[in-house]
Amino acid sequence: MTISTPASATGLWAATAMIAAVVLCSTAGEVLTAAAMKSIGDLDAIRARSGLRGAIRAVLTCPLFFAGVSFLALAFFSLLFALNHLNLSLVAPASASLTLVTNAIAGKIFLKENVDRRRWTAAVLVCIGVYLLAH
């Protein structure tokens, strides 16, 4: 992994586009995976009914799950690509913290989750916190 290239060597727009690609792919991956797991149902209940093998089969036979994992893999590779051009200390905290906010937005729009004021506050606090911690 090359992290020696300074962020300033890459243009602001290119850096923004790279981080946006990581954030968007990982948000799509998380939302699709969450939708897949909700469509499968309570995994603990499935495991109690048909064992660990049954639970694994339930996950592996869900097409949405594979769509989610594909986007998560895409997010991983776009992270590697971004790390090749930008500093780790910029990419890691920026993508980790922004993903929290985009997930809250996507969770509300696509998963119809009840993102109330409490969850918005949490998303923003954790977003700033992760940035400060990882920076």
Binding site: D44, V126, H135
Partner: protein
């Protein structure tokens, strides 16, 4: 199955999500930095790296993370699970402070406080968005015999009779 309050077993799974991800990453990082530089022209060295103890342990932890993350998503909202995952960073910061004796800067303390505050905000609320229509159909699918109150009462009777024994 919607739980306003999570079961202790479910909190344990959230804790697994929080701990396994950052610890797995740390193990991978430790394993990879101790190896000599790997070039893409020799991909075999990358495969050999998988079998070194730190990296193998890191991969095992990340598999554990993914399994518990999927389990958590099956009974809790994404916007509930993610802040819990972020709390793992706080755990790792404390591990680094007290186990590896790494100093924590003021900026990082501020981050720890903000994440902890955020997680406590989410934890006070419900873990799953309740949708009456879907909820009912899911319950019927899981327990089709519980269609009316009369039918629920029937199996309860023999159980009650067995109790005095």
């Amino acid at each position: 199955m919607a739980h306003e309050r999570l079961l202790p077993r479910q909190y344990l799974i959230l804790l697994m999500v929080a701990i396994c991800a950052p610890l797995g990453d740390t193990c991978l990082s430790r394993g990879m930095t101790s190896l000599p530089a790997i070039s893409l022209t020799h991909p075999a060295t990358l495969i050999a790296a998988v079998f070194t103890p730190w990296i193998a342990f890191g991969i095992a932890l990340l598999i554990g993370f993914f399994a518990s993350y999927l389990t958590a998503l099956s009974w809790a909202d994404l916007t509930y699970v993610l802040p819990a995952t972020a709390f793992g960073n706080v755990i790792v910061a404390f591990l680094a402070r007290f186990w590896l004796r790494e100093p924590i800067s003021l900026e990082r303390w501020a981050g720890i406080v903000l994440i902890t505050l955020g997680v406590s905000f989410v934890a006070q609320g419900p873990s799953l968005t309740v949708r009456p229509a879907i909820e009912r159909s899911a319950t019927e699918r899981l327990a089709p015999e519980k269609e009316s109150f009369g039918k629920i009462a029937e199996p309860a009777v023999p159980v009650a009779q067995e109790q005095p024994r």
